[in-house]
């Protein structure tokens, strides 16, 4: 016997069959190969052909098998038997469950559809769920965007027709300097990591702006440990320096942005601050050649950034001049902002210089001719290898909208959006505001809603009020408190419903959102609101229906549970109609299909909605004879059409060869499955950049059905809809804001990017609460659901509060110590740990690791429940009362984005308690507890 003499099979059979579908542990939606053995899931790996992940998978995706087999999976529909919040349930049949739901919902629809609030969490089927809600007729529908990243989305769309995140990505193959703000993980998780890898391999540089140096910021070549909430100032200083030095792309600004558009400066006029337009409503510019006012899109026009025109004794200047005036102000000099940002003036200067150097000195030309919307042919594409990315770190503040805007304006000034080496949109973006709907909120008994719920407000007329001027929506979206709340305000629904403000509802219908725990602000308060009873002993929120796939904390607070399947057991559709999986170079959509059949009495939620829709007789769900129109979700995916020829899936339409537009293809799903469960259509080379202005791209987009005619547009350095709302606050127009909001609207809804301190700072004494407190997503966990995964919970089974060196020493902390953390809203007691690479006034923890006892099929003494904790107890959905009788939301005053990261605390060392505080009683687990030993292996 010698070395090689071993019985070792180096070529074992890997599986009986590979089924390709789409991952679901996060919104990145990577392609997966599911290896099957004996009809069971044996191993999951990335699909190399997939446009999103090209074969790689993250830690969650690779642990999918433990998700699919998790003991926490719900088993059957359930009816509550104990009091709300106890977790006591009785399993019932689907027939009974659906009859109950119908019994509850039918009368509401007949009398007052708005009494149903249907909110769908981190829903990947929003075009479908919103369609259902619209057919039901309630104005009260949204998904989770309001507490997630609506600032990012809205600021991007209003400024440049798309944002970071799922809307676009850096040109990873060409960028040389990449600056990333406030990102721990992002939705685009694998592509960002792949991109960083590519950049690093090429020797590119990364600048990370983040109070915390972990993850992406750990590998950043330069780390800027900024003070939370001050990015807007920091970016403004960069703009200040670049403008001052003339390091901006004037040609780009003149041709592709509204910088040369003229602003009406007539004092007191109802048009003051609006763009000068011609009779067709087209914004006007001054042509440098002729010196005359000309529509911006006139062929041959050379828009003049420096122009001003005299009319009726008033001088009207360009947007660019207003912008320059603002940012050249010494208020934005590095010296003026440095200390507040926690970044030295010298460092701000060196970063600005580096941006300027790479953008302009390393500029390059791509040999690719293209034609712009004015008909001008360009022989090359100019590349500027600087790119940016940002997410919730700047978005989840109450000044987040303006901060995101400021960052977009910085990129636009550098001319690095939609150019080689810069930031690129993913189809169907870019898309101007005009291509999006406006909000609709007019509900009538027994009738569908008058249009889509969510949209982009252009001015006061689009706000969502009832006839009597009161908010039309339960979450008060699209009101003067947060006029551009394009994603709704899911975080306000329970609180408002409980307060009966603006009105009472009957049924709260939730899907996939753990609102009784980690997705709520003021978690304890929310649990109390959900269980609170009125003087008659009835629940204040009368009925709660919830669909979850697992035994989450929220399950215990519902009256009726509609158990969902896991992601490998159902059909899903990741549609170009809502949140696509496209890459900058391609449009793409995808499906999921049941690669295994459920072994429990559970049903895909979308199929359940279809059934419910038919039972309720909703117009979109029944045919002429009143019979169910769709058998299930798969049937809907194939046969539903939004507009003729346009359905949920863009690929393999008609006879299987049509793309974008085409007839229904009954074999469409089979085609997708054969193709790896996705479909890609590449952007032609000529259309690859300058998409908003590129004729080839516009034509291609029309062909695919993104819009019906070309929609070229200008980037909006100046956002006119904001000015229209300000005009109302100045007293113009019919619709008027209440007096107490006028000042806020004038200050915050500035049509040019601006910075103001986050709202919490204005009501909290910084001396008393000197420390910023943040959360970050761990890359290996998805919110609350990672903990039920036996592999992942070993990586993050509890979460310390990370404390910077200064505070660590100040309090004499040692490893193993605990601290009491107090905000103006609440108090928690938690374990601490030391981190040196951390802004010196900031503490943080991993998000959503703490769990309620009894949830997720974990034992009551699981570390998640005894040592883990949530910061959410410290964050309230309302700001502290200002004594004016008003409820001031802890949200961005423009979009309603929940201001998670505005939180300020103070921290004290305390003796270690038995468990993290606060402790809540154990829920009764509807699924029992998981097994003691797991030995996952299919082949024996």
């Amino acid at each position: 016997m010698f070395f090689e003499d071993r019985a070792l099979d180096t070529s074992p059979k890997v599986s009986d069959e590979v089924r390709k579908t789409t991952c679901y542990m996060c919104a990145c939606r990577c392609g997966i190969n599911v290896h099957m053995k004996d009809g069971k899931v044996a191993y999951i790996e990335g699909n190399r052909d997939h446009p999103v992940n090209k074969g790689v998978l993250c830690a969650k995706g690779s642990s999918g098998i433990m998700q699919v087999n998790a003991p926490s999976r719900l088993r059957a529909p359930m009816k509550r038997t104990g009091p709300r919040g106890s977790g006591e349930f009785e399993e019932i049949s689907w027939d009974e469950a659906l009859s109950i739901a119908t019994l509850w919902l039918e009368p509401i629809r007949k009398s007052s559809p708005e009494k149903l609030a249907f909110f769908t969490g981190r829903d990947q089927s929003q075009s479908f769920t919103s369609f259902w809600a619209q057919n039901f007729g309630t104005p009260n529908y949204a998904a989770h965007g309001g507490f997630c990243s609506v600032n990012m989305a809205t600021a991007g769309i209003y400024t440049m027709g798309g944002a970071f995140w799922e809307f676009g990505q850096p040109d990873w193959d060409r960028t040389k300097l990449f600056m990333i703000f406030g990102v721990a993980e992002d939705h685009d998780s694998n592509p960002i990591k792949m991109g960083l890898g590519k950049l690093k391999a090429r020797g590119g540089k990364v600048i990370g702006v983040n109070p915390i140096r972990s993850g992406y910021n750990a590998i950043a070549d330069e780390w800027v440990g900024i003070t939370p909430g001050t990015d807007g100032l920091f970016i403004s200083a960069l703009i200040h320096l670049l403008l001052k030095a003339g390091k901006i792309d004037l040609k780009y600004l003149a041709n592709f942005t509204n910088a040369p558009c003229l602003l009406n400066e007539t004092p007191g006029s109802p048009d003051n601050g609006l763009l000068l337009r011609d009779s067709d409503g087209k914004p006007l510019v001054v042509d440098r050649t002729t010196g005359t006012l000309t529509p911006f899109d006139e062929p041959g026009v050379k828009p003049n950034l420096a122009a001003s025109v005299e009319m009726d004794g008033v001088t009207h200047r360009t947007v660019f001049q207003h912008l320059a005036e603002r940012f050249l102000s010494e208020d934005y000099s590095p010296e003026a902002v440095g200390e507040r940002c926690g970044v030295s003036a010298g460092r701000i200067k060196s970063i600005a210089a580096e941006l300027a150097r790479v953008a302009f000195e390393e500029a390059f030309e791509l040999d690719q001719p293209w034609t712009d919307f004015r008909g001008k042919r360009h022989e090359t594409m100019t590349g500027r290898p600087v790119s940016f990315h940002a997410m919730r770190g700047i978005s989840a503040h109450s000044n987040g909208f303006q901060t995101c805007r400021t960052l977009h304006v910085l990129q636009i000034l550098l001319g690095t959006v939609e150019v080689p080496g810069g930031f690129r949109f993913k189809p169907p973006y870019p898309k101007p505001v005009e291509a999006h709907p406006t909000p609709h909120c007019h509900s009538k008994p027994d009738c569908p809603l008058d249009g889509p719920h969510l949209g982009f407000v252009r001015g006061p007329a689009d706000l969502a009020f009832k006839e009597d001027g009161s908010p039309a929506r339960i979450d008060k979206a699209f009101t003067w408190e947060n006029p551009l709340s394009a994603h709704g305000l899911m975080h306000m629904v329970i609180s408002n419903a409980h307060a009966g403000d603006p009105y009472k509802i009957d049924t709260l219908f939730l899907y996939m959102a753990n609102m009784a725990w980690n997705s709520s602000m003021n978690t304890r308060g929310v649990m109390e609101m959900l269980t609170d009873k009125d003087e008659n002993g009835d629940y204040v929120i009368p009925r709660i229906i919830y669909s979850d796939a697992y035994s989450s904390e929220m399950v215990a607070y519902a009256d009726l549970i509609l158990p969902d399947t896991t992601y490998l057991e159902r059909h899903d559709c990741i549609s170009l109609l809502d949140r696509p999986i496209c890459e900058a170079e391609a449009a793409a959509d995808a499906i999921r299909w049941p690669v295994v059949e459920p072994d429990r009495d559970v049903r895909g939620f979308q199929s359940v909605l279809i059934d419910l829709g038919a039972r309720l007789g909703l117009p979109g769900f029944i045919d002429e004879n009143g019979e169910a129109r769709y058998e299930d979700y798969a049937d809907y995916i194939v046969n539903h059409q939004r507009r003729p020829g346009i359905g949920p899936l863009a690929g393999f339409r008609g006879d299987g060869t049509k793309t974008g537009r085409g007839d229904i293809n009954p074999d469409q799903l089979e085609k997708y499955i054969e193709n790896g469960s996705f479909f890609v259509e590449h952007v032609p080379d000529e259309a690859a950049f300058y998409k908003p202005w590129n004729r080839a791209y516009q034509d291609w987009a029309v062909g695919l059905g993104f819009y019906d005619k070309p929609q070229p547009y200008l980037f909006q350095l100046y956002v006119e809809p904001l000015r229209r709302l300000q005009l109302a606050a100045e007293g113009h127009g019919e619709r008027q804001p209440p007096d107490h909001l006028r000042q806020q609207i004038l200050e915050c809804l500035d049509p040019l990017p601006t910075w103001y301190p986050v709202l919490e700072e204005t009501v909290v004494d910084p001396e008393q609460y000197p420390v910023h407190a943040l959360t970050q997503r761990p890359m290996a966990m998805y919110h609350s659901w990672g903990s039920q995964n036996a592999w992942l919970r070993q990586i993050h089974g509890r979460n310390p509060l990370y404390v910077p060196t200064k505070i660590w020493q100040q309090h004499g902390f040692e490893d193993g110590d605990w601290a009491q953390v107090t905000s103006i809203h609440g108090q928690i007691t938690v374990p601490v740990a030391h981190m040196a690479g951390l802004n010196e006034n900031t503490v943080w923890t991993w998000n959503a690791i703490g769990k309620r006892k009894g949830a997720w099929a974990l034992e009551d003494d699981a570390p998640e429940a005894t040592k883990g904790f949530l910061l959410n107890h410290l964050i309230h959905e309302l700001l502290p009362s200002k004594g004016d009788g008003m409820r001031w939301a802890n949200s961005d005053p423009i979009t309603g984005q929940a201001a998670w990261f505005d939180l300020r605390v103070r921290i004290e060392k305390v003796t270690a308690p038995e468990e993290s505080q606060p402790v809540f009683g154990a829920l009764k687990s509807p699924v029992g507890e998981g097994p003691a030993v797991v030995r996952q292996k299919v082949s024996k």
Partner: protein, 298 residues
């Protein structure tokens, strides 16, 4: 290292057993018949009992025979051979002594040599480990061997030899502690050499790879408080060396004094052996920040 009861019991008892066998093999004392029976029964009980205890440490004891295959490289394999051979040799020798009243001198010498070799092999299992600097020293075999022989001598009622061996074992023990305390630093193992990050600066564990525990932490990362260890060292030394010496000198030689001395010896040796493991730091602890902070408890 984790002071697992099975290995502590194993090394202490089998050490004592083979120590006793060494003396019996040398004919110290020269016993036959019933007297021999009791001596050998005790020796075998200790030696075999210890070996049996060691199998509790195994994940798959039913395959233990495979441990005989790698004598060329593995001290554990050598130990298996040597202990078996020692037991066979001494078994035959004992059979002859008990049932045939024969003292087979040459066989006894061979058995004694094999018994000593067994103890050395056992100690080499620890002494060979570069990963545990405290053990990785020529004093380690000497330490285990002197203790084993001292215990054997007490049981064999060889007072003079026992006294001499106890003195030597005591000196070796103190040296093992004192030198052992410096071994880790002397070897230059640091978190920087472990991670290779020393070129940048001083490294510190920020987050362990998992918030729970694992086999490595349970087995190899054990932290004892300094004060606690010092106290135990005193107890160990007093019981293992000082008291047996006192008993042997002050009490008349006989079963009672031997029993008393061995009782003290056992208490002391168990304490010493517990420390032998508990104080031994494995370099893998560096990756878990075990040296820079006491964050990771065993």
């Amino acid at each position: 290292m984790h002071p697992a009861p099975s290995v502590i019991v194993f090394t202490v008892l089998s050490g004592l057993g083979f120590g006793l066998l060494s003396f019996l093999g040398l004919g110290l004392p020269q016993v036959t018949g019933w007297e021999a029976f009791f001596y050998f029964a005790l020796a075998f009980a200790l030696a075999v009992g210890g070996l049996v205890a060691s199998t509790f440490h195994l994940g798959n004891p039913q395959r233990a025979l495979k441990a005989f295959t790698q004598w060329k490289t593995s001290w554990l394999s050598r130990e298996a051979w040597l202990s078996s051979l020692a037991l066979v040799a001494m078994g035959l020798y004992a059979f002859a002594a008990v049932f045939l009243d024969i003292s087979a001198g040459l066989l006894g010498w061979l058995g004694a040599a094999l018994s000593v070799a067994t103890v050395v092999a056992t100690s080499m299992i620890y002494a060979q480990l570069m990963t545990v600097p405290r053990w990785n020293h020529w004093l380690t075999p000497l330490h285990l061997l002197t203790l084993s022989l001292a215990g054997g001598a007490i049981l064999a009622q060889q007072s003079a030899v026992a006294l001499a061996l106890l003195v030597v074992a005591g000196i070796v023990q103190i040296l093992h502690w004192v030198l052992g305390d410096r071994r880790f630093e002397e070897r230059g193992h640091t978190i920087e050499s472990a991670t290779g990050l020393g070129d940048i600066g001083a490294a510190r564990l920020f987050e362990p790879p998992h918030t729970g525990t694992n086999y490595l932490l349970k087995e190899m990362v054990h932290v004892v408080g300094r004060k606690h260890a010092q106290k135990l060292r005193v107890i160990a030394f007093v019981f293992m060396i000082v008291l047996p010496i006192a008993v042997l000198i002050l009490l008349p030689q006989g079963i009672v004094s031997a029993a008393l001395a061995i009782l003290c010896y056992l208490i002391g040796t168990f304490a010493s052996r517990w420390l032998f493991f508990a104080e031994a730091e494995h370099v893998v602890g560096l990756y878990y920040g075990a040296r820079s902070a006491q964050a990771v408890a065993g």
